[in-house]
């Protein structure tokens, strides 16, 4: 399996259908955070960065992160072309994306990855650091900065617009 270290400026060699070992920095953002970023601007530079569509459970005192599996990516579709224009390179979630997102992925040479939906505890075991960096009032939906190590992910849509999904 190929390694991908985040953040990254180049994802041109990744192909839909291949598995990656994902490590490095990734920011969580769900529905409410996306809406705020669109309305008020992104509170940090997105250049070369990665966003993970997820909202964790609170962590047990003995654990670094609570369970943190992906949520449905397509709910973020209306906001995604804007974030790609701002420099977003990598998205991680679950499920299909719409045509507008696919087109924007091609234009801005980005990549969309998926991992196993529902595998909250497994994915939490790959999180080495977690910290809220924006919108703390949103609770689980706040933007969390994660440092992950060796999370298996599947390339779902690559820079050519090739997709692992049927439609």
């Amino acid at each position: 399996m190929k390694d991908l270290l985040l953040p990254t400026s180049d994802v041109t060699d990744l192909e839909a259908g291949e598995w990656l070992n994902l490590s490095g920095i990734i920011y969580t953002a769900r529905d409410q955070a996306h809406q705020r970023m669109l309305q008020d601007g992104v509170p940090f530079s997105l250049k070369g960065q990665a966003i993970y569509y997820a909202g964790p459970c609170p962590a047990k005192p003995t654990k670094i992160s609570g369970p943190i599996g992906p949520t449905t990516s397509s709910r973020m579709d209306p906001f995604t072309p804007f974030l790609l224009k701002e420099g977003l390179k990598v998205m991680l979630g679950k499920g299909q994306r719409n045509q507008a997102v696919k087109e924007a992925i091609k234009v801005y040479k980005a990549v969309y990855l998926v991992t196993a939906g529902g595998a909250g505890t497994y994915i939490a075991s790959k999180v080495k650091e977690i910290q809220v960096v924006a919108y703390p009032d949103l609770g689980s939906e706040a933007v969390h900065k994660l440092i992950i190590k060796d999370l298996p992910v599947l390339v779902a849509i690559d820079i050519k617009g090739n997709s692992i999904f049927q439609n």
């Binding site: 047990k60 449905t72 299909q96 505890t121 049927q166």
Partner: protein
């Protein structure tokens, strides 16, 4: 008359939600292992391996299987000879939910108002369905229902002359539309008959059955089997990435209906199909 205290209800509800969110049922585990063995797409098989490793790790760490610890759905069958003195059943259930979600470090996913969206911070209120049954016992069944799959549910009022083929096409199209969003391999809960809300409730109750248990009426057992085959023929696969297995099971519940109608409701559950019950 037998008396049950508010505390007993609260404790039972808390324990059920705690267990349901952390320990996956034996039937679902078995179905997932079987799915992995049958799966022909190596990518989907790898996804299933992660899913299996995840439920094992959740049980070992005593942490939730999935971060979406759901909206709390509670079915209560209340014996007609049982009395709850000076307390509200709703309050007792909600206090149990609150305790489980706080002490289990579960995600609080409920907002007070569907448009204003302020979090209630304790995952209450629960959606409670009560029924009176004869006797001196109380049965409590809980389902922490995740919304990736809940969002993909659907209901249609068919004409009474509709054929099974039309109904099957409607359900299969719905599963196709849900794609990866419902977190396949899914379990299909199908409610047929009654009124609009009765069909929806039957669909939810169908999710409570043991995975792959058959409908007692051979006519409907055959329909369940056909539907499962048709859904798996779509090739949507685990997490929507193509594959042999799209659904682990299909359960149908039926009820008499009106001469002018044929309501059909489908409630999907993800592979983290959680439910627990107890008799008090």
């Amino acid at each position: 008359m037998r008396e049950i205290t508010k505390e007993e209800i609260k404790k039972a509800v808390a324990k059920l939600f705690f267990n349901a969110n952390i320990n996956l049922g034996r039937d679902v585990k078995k179905a997932l292992q079987a799915a992995k063995a049958q799966e022909k797409n190596p990518n989907a098989q790898k996804m299933l391996s992660i899913i299996i490793e995840n439920y094992k790790l959740a049980e070992k760490n005593q942490t939730p299987i999935c971060q979406d610890t759901g909206m709390a759905v509670v079915f209560i069958d209340w014996g007609s000879e049982v009395i709850l003195r000076n307390a509200s059943l709703e309050e007792a259930v909600n206090e149990g939910v609150k305790e489980a979600y706080q002490e289990g470090y579960f995600r609080k996913s409920i907002v007070k108002d569907p448009l204003r969206r302020e979090n209630t911070l304790d995952n209450t209120p629960a959606v409670i369905h009560t029924r009176i049954i004869p006797g001196e016992k109380v049965k409590i069944t809980v389902i922490p229902k995740g919304f990736g799959s809940e969002n993909m549910g659907s209901l249609k009022m068919f004409n009474p002359t509709a054929t099974w083929g039309e109904i099957e096409t409607y359900i299969v199209d719905m599963v196709k539309k849900a794609g990866a969003n419902a977190c396949p391999p899914v379990i299909l809960g199908v409610g047929i008959g009654g009124t609009m809300e009765k069909a929806a409730l039957l669909a939810k109750e169908a999710l409570l059955r043991e995975v792959l248990s058959k409908h007692p009426d051979p006519f409907w057992a055959e329909k369940e089997e056909n539907l499962l085959l048709a859904v798996n023929k779509t090739g949507i696969g685990t997490q929507g990435i193509s594959g042999t297995i799209t659904a682990l099971a299909c359960h149908i519940e039926v009820f008499p209906t009106h001469i002018a109608g044929l309501p059909v409701a489908v409630n999907l559950n993800c592979h983290v199909s959680r439910h627990q019950e107890v008799w008090l």
